[in-house]
Amino acid sequence: MELEVFIIQTLVKILVVLLIFSALAGFTTYLERKVLAFMQRRLGPMTVGPWGLLQVLADGIKLFTKEDIVPTNSIKPIFKIAPVILPATAFIAIAGVPLFPEFQAFGMTIQPIIVDSNIGVLYVLGIMAIGMFSPLLAGLSSGNKWSLLGGARTAIQLLSFEVVTGLSILAPVILIGSLNLIDINNYQIENGWLILTQPIAFVLFLIAGYAETNRTPFDLLEHESEIVSGYATEYSGMRWGLFFIGEYVNMFIVSFLTVLIFLGGFGEGTLIDGLCYLGKVLFFIFLFLWTRAAWPHIRPDQLMWLTWKVLMPLAVINVVITGLVVMF
């Protein structure tokens, strides 16, 4: 491929991904409010537009026009830069995720993945992990005790679960022998879905994914009954909105990764496969909302106990057994 074509194609892809996922983040908040409402026998937002569909727009207007408050006692440069980190890392990470099987358009083959690197999984998870600096710095710089507690919880939660994520993904990677997400997808065409051979890794990865995206039951960072709004207490307007976009994009990344690694991804890559792929991703997004409606939060000490004493040993055992099976 010529260099100019490559550059233009990549730029267009970046623009499309950025626009789609910023919009999707907003739309997912609408979806979340609706699903939670239905599960609690409510209707949710109904006033703005048909079935409240324009609520996203109203929220956007609200967020953009709200007064931007920077507290006096905050450390201002860090306070201002912290909310940018989370969406930035989330969008950088999504560059490594194949969002659809490759297809023909405008007379060329388009791969809906921005960076098809040979260390795909590592890249995506690594960049996502950098996102933890966002709540951490936000919590430390806000000059607020709730924020500080939220920041401290970020450190313990994300450090703990990063270990589990890494170890749980190790066993499938041993089986496949590649970190490239498209290789992982192609491996499953011949050998069946990895959830069948690696059920423990699947469960561990899902749990760790919930913790990494700060979703119930692991949303200790902004546990409103304990620490008001955690690291986001002092934020308002679009600064807060950036945290939100980052969180929802991370949810999509975790859903995409789970489907790609464990549930066959997009398989052969036909159009129907591609739609199935997106359907599976949507199911995992729904699962995020579903658990939020059903499950309570857990305490920080329970979280640490669960990670270090249950999930990590399980992950290690899983890796060792997989390794032995592959060896012999």
Binding site: V35, F38, M39, Q40, R41, R42, L43, M46, W290, T291, A293, A294, W295, W305, L306, K309, V310
Partner: protein, 203 residues
């Protein structure tokens, strides 16, 4: 259930069902077993199923308030209405002043005069709704069914002065046809005719 069961205050002798609280796990292994029981056992997944079931049933309880309202009882005591005589359109109020007298919140004020036909006429009538406690005594005491409690409970205004306006309560003369005999608080009971007795003129 008879009243005796409630009057028995001898604690311990009733058939209380003690709540079975399991003792807290002490060792790490016990804790692990508890987590497994609660997690992989039914508790987590029952929770998931319950919320999904409610979503699929889609039995929504929301009342979308401004566009739909819950029905209120006919005896609900909301903002007062002043009624008119159906035949002539005159106000029913005869200016007797009973409502003013009985009002416990002291929020009714009326001014009367005798008009050219030697009938008592109400020149001014106001109920300070900001002070009214909606006890319903005025509607109950009114001998002419002139003041009753309506069903309008949405009272919003920019000024307190708006809460005393008589014209808001009085049936407009154009809408006289739509005025209904009020079945609610202060109205005659359905069997009122049977309760009427002849005035004992014999003595």
């Amino acid at each position: 259930m008879s009243l005796d069961a409630f009057k028995n205050r001898n604690i311990g002798s009733q058939n209380y069902v003690p709540v079975n609280i399991e003792s807290y796990p002490t060792t790490g292994w016990d804790k692990f077993k508890q987590v497994v029981k609660r997690g992989i056992g039914k508790e987590l997944f029952v929770g998931l199923w319950v919320v999904l079931r409610e979503m699929l049933k889609f039995k929504i309880h929301t009342v979308q308030y401004p566009s739909e309202v819950l029905p209120i009882g006919p005896r609900y005591r909301a903002v007062h209405k002043l009624l008119r005589l159906l035949e002539s359109g005159n106000e029913r109020c005869i200016g007797c002043g009973l409502c003013e007298k009985i009002c416990v919140a002291d929020c009714i004020r009326m001014d009367t005069r005798v008009d050219e036909n030697s009938r008592k006429e109400v020149v001014e009538y106001s109920i300070n709704l900001g002070r009214c406690i909606f006890c319903g005594y005025c509607a109950e005491v009114c001998p002419e069914l002139a003041i009753v409690h309506g069903s309008r409970y949405e009272n919003v205004s920019e000024q307190r002065a708006h809460f005393v306006i008589k014209d808001d309560m009085l049936t407009p003369i154009d809408f006289l046809k739509q005025q209904k005999e009020f079945p609610g608080f202060g109205a005659l009971s359905p069997n009122a005719d049977q309760l009427v007795k002849k005035t004992p003129l014999a003595y």
